[in-house]
Amino acid sequence: TQLLEQSPQFLSIQEGENLTVYCNSSSVFSSLQWYRQEPGEGPVLLVTVVTGGEVKKLKRLTFQFGDARKDSSLHITAAQPGDTGLYLCAGAGDSGTYKYIFGTGTRLKVLA
């Protein structure tokens, strides 16, 4: 059974601080996605990483896929209150992309 563990589960920081969220598994994924979710809404796709070692940047957010395609990280530089939300990683199984395994989630709160 493929599992994705996210850490930390909760994070409360001051505006302007940097943070990193981790997504780890013992399984290999063909691709990995990061989502942000606001309360009462569906998750919104932020990025997809496909190649081992791949790094993608989205403004102040930097996403990295592990060399072995088993883990990923999300780094936010100079966090802002608008970054507040639930961050979810999801991996597509190596045997195909029909099923996505979701991580346990990281709830981020950025205080002004």
Partner: protein, 110 residues
Amino acid sequence: SQTIHQWPATLVQPVGSPLSLECTVEGTSNPNLYWYRQAAGRGLQLLFYSVGIGQISSEVPQNLSASRPQDRQFILSSKKLLLSDSGFYLCAWSVLNEQYFGPGTRLTVT
């Protein structure tokens, strides 16, 4: 552009009553479709997925069922709701390596 619709947005149902949640996708053909359930503030649990009309794969044995009567329509049903069926239900569609979610349905079973 592609759009995904889910309704209703919220639903309060008594224990033992039936359930029908509907999801439709516009702007794409033959999408993979998914139903997830999310506990408060946590990750998503995959309930069902479908790669084509009439093709349903169930991930978790439970009180729910799914059907895909048309290419872009996905329905989640139950004959008799349990208290444990309460939660936030999300429909999604995927293409290649990306999934896109609907706005969700908040179901409260009383």
